[in-house]
Structures are given as structure tokens and as C-alpha cells.
Amino acid sequence: MTPHSNVPPTRSHGPRKLTPKPHPILSRIFSTDHRTIGIQYLILALVSVIIGTTLSLLMRIHLVWPDWPLPLHGLILPEDYLALVTIHGTVMLFFVLTTAPQAGFGNLILPAQIGARTMAFPGLNAASFWLTAIALITLLCSTFAPGGAAISGWTAYPPLSAVPSAGPGQALGMDLWLASIALFAIASTASSINTLTTILRNRCPGMTWERLPLTVWGWFTAALLSIIAFSVLLAAILLLFCDRHAGTSFFLPNGDLVNGVLHQGGNGSPLLWLHLFWFFGHPEVYIAILPGMGLTSMLLANFSHRRVFAYRTMIVTTLLIGLLGILLWGHHMFVAGLNPFASSAFSISTMAIALPAAAKVLSWLATTWRSRPSYKTPMLFALGFVSLFITGGLTGPILAQPILDEYLHNTFFVVAHFHLIMAMAGIFGLYAATYYWFPLLTATRSHPGRLLSEPLGHLHFWCTLIGAYAVFLPMHLTGLAGEPRHYAQLTGIPGPGGSLSPAGALLSHTLPLNRFITYAAFFLAAGQLLFLINLARTLYKGNFASSNPWQATTLEWHPTMNPFTPSSASDTSEISVHRMPCHYQSNKVEISFLPQWAPVSFAQGEIANATDSKPE
């Protein structure tokens, strides 16, 4: 790196040449600047989350009013419902919960937090964004394929997914689904290589491993998991593709009869796909949640004006969650015919991960305990993250019992569990990040960043929190009552002799509660309109933020890391880091916090004495 780092990073890779300037809009769209790419990822995630939410509302409508005809489409048939489930899950997990925290904020904030001016490989970074965009377009196009989109769920279990004639959407729709996920896997791997290399090689002087903010540790661990997990998924997709088109039988058992087609020859094993898929799939949910965990730690400390409780232990638990996260995939397969001894082993490793997770929760609680925090919107969403993580986490040990899972596995209890702990907690982490970093998102060279409106933000938070609990808590009850997952229709299924089927009779009791869940889902979705209004309003006439509006201690708030710099670029001095983040002091008014970049002052020993009340 030359000291010339304030030139736009679009030009900073390769030798400095005077190339003719390309078209201004094109060069902005196909930019290699990590901030632009980060915003592009966030826009992609926003589009995806709107699509995914719409699909989930359609599912809720269909569950309680199965006869409602969808405009321009007609009645929602069972295969349409399954396609809704599949695309909802795929879009939300891959294109929202993986891209937005890891690639979106990972690009926008990560380099600044470690004191780097650029990512390690800007070109690779742009390539992986465009590959992700192509993957999304491929996935959405599969809706218009003959037969419709894939209907196998986001897990695409064979043997049905391996036989193109297995059902509507299992031919071209399934191929497009597989192609989309394969592209996404390649893009995510490339993006993680970039993230890891950036963290390892582009840290500024003084940024030791211990001084890395916990968000960076979250991104780092999630990137390690991506490196390990996504290529296994790619291999599995390749094998499934061969099964579908090259006549092999990796996953097809001998004598498998699907839709009148008998498979003969090779001894494949459908269970093998489950192993490969969940070896990827379980780390994937930690990829989605780890950055949010790191951010929550940092935000709670920031707004409580406290140090993170047990900082080093939090680093270790982040890595431990990553490590254990790749050892417990089998708990998704308890009812799939797994060897009972293997089930016990996976049950133990699953409960083991409750330990680092509980340590994290304890640290969050201890950080805020009796601290009189300032309840700004980002803080509220971070507290909401903690709340949802605990609520969702408490059902984890229940589902980790193979015996209990026998009953609960295919019910809405599981849906409630993973929506609370992964989807809702993940979304709350994203909202916290958006409200917290919005000034950095919106800052340009000509004006400083803007702050999202606080009153609207508070309203949005309470609507979202109440809506999230109102939607997903009752699902535990309907699940316990026996409501199955992936069923297009709960009632009205005719049984023997024209009467209601036994299953229909059982489930008719859950209908009032299901109707309530649907209303709550509409409330939750409507609450998100507040966020969109806030976003649109702030982009045009929000209040300008000061250079460090939250009194943050991490480097992304360093004045020269902001695109809008008060001083001219040539005045920037070398950035170096002098201490761990979250150096706060609650009892003194004049200097109540010391950012990581502030050089050692005479008063520091005094402050250290005042803040270092307990040994770390």
C-alpha cells in the first residue's frame, strides 16, 4: 500500500495508469469499490427479503383460506404451495441471511473496522457480487419454467429431487434451482476468501487479534465456515446433477419406484445427500447468525457505555460455536433413518453448542446489567436480538433429543424454533446494523451521512418485536398439537366415508390459532413498511450525523474512514490502533470513552485505573 490511499479504491488495484474514464453510471454499477459492492449486496438482500416476505404471506393466506384465488394465477395448488415454501426458504436463507450480514455489511464495515482502505481482492469481490446476482435471477426465473419452480424445499432431498419426472417443478425448475445454488456456493466461497485474506493481511498497525472488534471475529468465523461448507454443497449438487442427467446413482437406491419410473442399477443412498447437505446446511445457519452475535456484543457495550463482559471469552466462544457448528449436522437427520448411536453422538454435540451460546447470552446480560443504557433504536434491536435468541434457543435442547424429535421433527414446532433463533434474530441483527451504521451507508464525498429517524425507528422496533412473537410463539402450540410442515392443506381433506379425515379433525382445533398467526404475519409485514418509509424519508431529508454519533470506539467511525472527511485527504495521518475496543468509562463526564485510534494520552493510565476494575 502506498500512502496514496485516499484515491478512490476503484483505481487502487494494479498499476496506476491513466485509463480513459468509462461511462460514469456504468463505472458506478460495475465498481470494485468495497463500499459500493456492500451497498449493492444490501439492495439485493432488500429485494430478496421483500420477495420472501410476500411468499410467506401467500403461504399463510393459503393455510387458513385455501380457496382464495391468487390474482393473475388462480387457486394455489399443492405444488404451488410447495414451490412457495421452497423459494421462500431459499431466498431468505441464501440471499438475505447469508448475503446481507456477511457480504453486505462485511464489505461496508469490515475493512474500516480493521483499518484497511480496501479489501484484499477488489476484482474478485465484484465478481462474486455479480455471480450472486445471477444466482438470484436464475432462482427467480425458475418460477416461469415449465412445471413451475422446484418443490423439494430448500433441502432438496433425493430420491424425489433426483428424478426429473417426480412431480411438477422437478424437471427444469429443479435444474435451475440446483444451478442457482451452485453459483451461489461459488460466489460465497470467493467472497469468503476475500474476507479472510483481508482480515489476515490488511489490518492496520497495532490491530492485534485481541483488539479486533467482535463483529470482525464473527465475520472471520463465518467466512471460515463458508470456506469449509459451501464446497461440500457444491460437490453434493454436482453428484445430484449427475444422478439427474448422467444416469448415475449416487443418491438413488436400487429398486426405487418414483411416479412409475423404476430405478435399476447402482446402490445409491439418499441418506448420503442428507449428510452432505446438512454438513453444509448447519454451518450455514451459523454463517447467518455469527455476525449478528458479534454486532450485538459491540452494540450492547456501546450503548451501555461499558466494556464487553469477558471479551477474550467472547472471542473463544465465537470460534467454538464455529467449530461445534460443523460437528452437529446429524441432528437434522434423527428421523431419516440414522443409526441410533450416531443420533446419540449428534445429540451430545448439539447440546454442547448450548454452552458457548449460553456464555454469549451471559456476557450480553452482564454487559447491560444495571448500566442505564441509552435506548437508541440500534440498542433496542440488539436487545431484541438477545430476547429472540434466548426464546428460540430454549427450544433447541428439546429438539436435540432424538426421542422428542421423533414427534416434533415434521411439525410447526421446528418452524417456530428456527424462525425465532435464526430468521428473526438474524433480521434483528440486520436492523440493528442498519440503524447503527446508516450514517456510514449514506455518507458521500459531498455530504456527511444521515441518521434514521428515532421515533419512527422506535415504533418500527416495537411493531417488529410484538409481531415476531405473535407470529412464531403460537406456532409452538400448533406444532405440539400436531400441525405438520410442508402440508398445503390442513383441513377439508375428505376421509373415509365422506367424513372429515382423522388428521383433518385433529387439526381443525388449531385453525383459530392459525388464523391468528396469519393476522399477526400481516401485522408484522405491515410494520416493516415503517422501516421502508423511514429509509425513503431519511435518504432525502434525514438529519446529518456527526462524525461519531454513537460515541463508538471502533475504527469504522474514524474521521478519515468516513467517505465524507472534514479535512482534506492529504492531511490524513497513519491510522494505528492503541487498545481494545469498548474503552468506556461511566463515571467521568469530560472523557467518557477512548476510541481505538486515539493515541496514548497522559490521562490514559488514570482512565485505565478507573475502568479496569475487574481483571479480564
Binding site: 498497525p205 449416487f250 446402490n267
Partner: protein, 257 residues
């Protein structure tokens, strides 16, 4: 002669550092690095001979390639574990007998020859790679005395490309030989894996040859030594990894079917 005799003043004033033997006259590589690299107090003078110099970009790219290879390793781990699982999977037939239909695929003998070719190519690319970092030649280039590094590395690089193409041709011949015995991709469980493993490895080698060709072009086109070093070094490490991987995969196919 170098294109520019007087260096452009592109850097900020920096302090003379007497401890770096900077007398203020020369274009010494900058030791004050703004974005880490080696981290705190990273001083080139303390590095071993042959590893001094502005290798920040090189090391960054090398690290990227190693992460990509680690990810690729997991890809092959997945395929090899599938191999072992499918090998031991059977089913019960109509008479309740347990049947395992795994029939090992005969390895065409030409694969031994191919393995030797690939090992040789690993040697040639290593010669090319080491020639990129000979300090006397680097000094010659720096003084503007032609491109001795390109001159030394090109023959070894070309030899590697030739050997790589030879290996792929050998693999092609092996597939033809198997096909003549009516062993195809879908014939048997073990032939699935023979073709899958050799095929996926061949795709990786195609990418490797593309990287070698890029390095070959780069050696001609690029004037900047660092770019050439990165191209050849990256291609070389990838090529080594593919050679090592082939040894494992070949052992698997020969001894563990």
C-alpha cells in the same frame, strides 16, 4: 534502460530511517506500511535472505490461493467420503440376501505413466517459480537490463504446459480404453467414481493450464516484475496442489477400490 529515469514523486515525504540503512538517496522499498501486512514492527531486514522486498501483494495473492485450495480440498473430501460410503452400501434382494454390487474398475496402466508426467510437471513449474525470485536477476530487471527473469522462467513454464497437456491427453486415452471395454460413467457404482474423480480432477487441470497460459502471457506482456511473480507463483502453487491431490486420488483408485 528503464522507461522512467527520475521516479515520479508519488509518495508522501517519509522520514529517513537510519536503522533501515536509508541514506536518503535511493529508491528503497518503503518500510513504513500503512495497512499492516506483516503487522507490528515488520522489518524486512530481519527477514531471511531471499524473502526481503515488497512482497505484500504477492503474499496476499498467495494466501488467497491457499484459502481457495482449502475450500477445494473440502470439495474432494466430500467426493472421497461419498466414494467410501457408496462402496460399502448394498441392498437386500428379493430372497433377502444382502447384495453389494460394487465391482472395482480396472485401472488402465497408462495412468501410471500419467502420474509420472504430472510429477515431472510439478518439478518444472517449481523451477519456473524459483527463477522468478533470483535476487541477481531481480536486480538486473530493476536496473533495466532487459527481462532476465522472463528469459529464465519461460522454458520451464512452457515445459509445464506441455506436460500438463500430455497428462490430459493420457487421461483421455485412459477413458477411451475403458470405453472400449464397455465401462462407462453409468455402468457401475465404481465406474461412476472412476470417471467422476478423474473427470473433476481433469477440469481442475484445465483451469490450471489456463492459469499457466495466463502466466505465460503475463511473462511476455507485463513490464512490472511483481505482476509476473504473482502470476507464476499463484499458478505454481495451484499446480503443485493438483499434483499432490492426484497422488491421493490415484492411490485411492488403485489401492482402495
Amino acid at each position: 534502460m528503464p522507461a522512467i529515469i527520475t521516479p515520479n514523486k508519488t509518495e508522501q515525504e517519509r522520514k529517513r530511517r537510519v536503522e533501515d540503512h536509508d541514506n536518503g538517496a535511493g529508491r528503497r522499498p518503503p518500510t513504513d506500511k500503512r495497512t499492516g501486512g506483516g503487522g507490528d514492527n515488520d522489518n524486512w531486514n530481519e527477514r531471511p535472505h531471499g524473502r526481503r522486498g515488497p512482497y505484500e501483494r504477492l503474499h496476499r495473492y498467495r494466501m488467497g490461493i491457499f484459502f481457495a485450495l482449502a475450500s477445494d480440498l473440502m470439495f474432494f473430501v466430500a467426493i472421497v467420503s461419498t466414494f467410501f460410503v457408496n462402496q460399502s452400501t448394498g441392498h437386500f434382494d428379493a430372497y433377502n440376501h444382502y447384495v453389494n454390487e460394487w465391482l472395482p474398475t480396472t485401472i488402465p496402466p497408462i495412468l501410471w505413466l500419467n502420474t509420472v508426467v504430472l510429477l515431472l510437471s510439478s518439478g518444472t513449474i517449481e523451477f519456473a517459480r524459483r527463477n522468478m525470485f533470483r535476487e541477481t536477476d531481480v536486480m538486473d530487471e530493476w536496473l533495466g537490463l532487459g527481462k532476465p527473469i522472463t528469459r529464465r522462467a519461460l522454458p520451464w513454464l512452457s515445459a509445464t504446459i506441455g506436460l500438463g497437456v500430455l497428462f490430459l491427453t493420457g487421461q483421455w486415452i485412459a477413458w477411451r480404453q475403458l470405453a472400449r471395454q464397455h465401462v462407462f460413467f453409468k455402468t457401475n457404482q465404481s465406474s461412476h467414481f472412476f470417471y467422476l474423480i478423474t473427470g473433476v480432477h481433469a477440469i481442475h487441470l484445465f483451469l490450471g493450464i489456463a492459469a499457466l497460459l495466463a502466466a505465460f502471457t503475463g511473462l511476455y506482456v507485463s513490464r512490472q516484475l511483481e505482476n509476473r511473480q504473482i502470476l507464476v507463483d499463484g499458478a505454481a502453487w495451484y499446480w503443485h496442489a493438483m499434483g499432490l491431490l492426484w497422488l491421493f486420488l490415484f492411490t485411492l483408485l488403485v489401492f482402495f477400490q
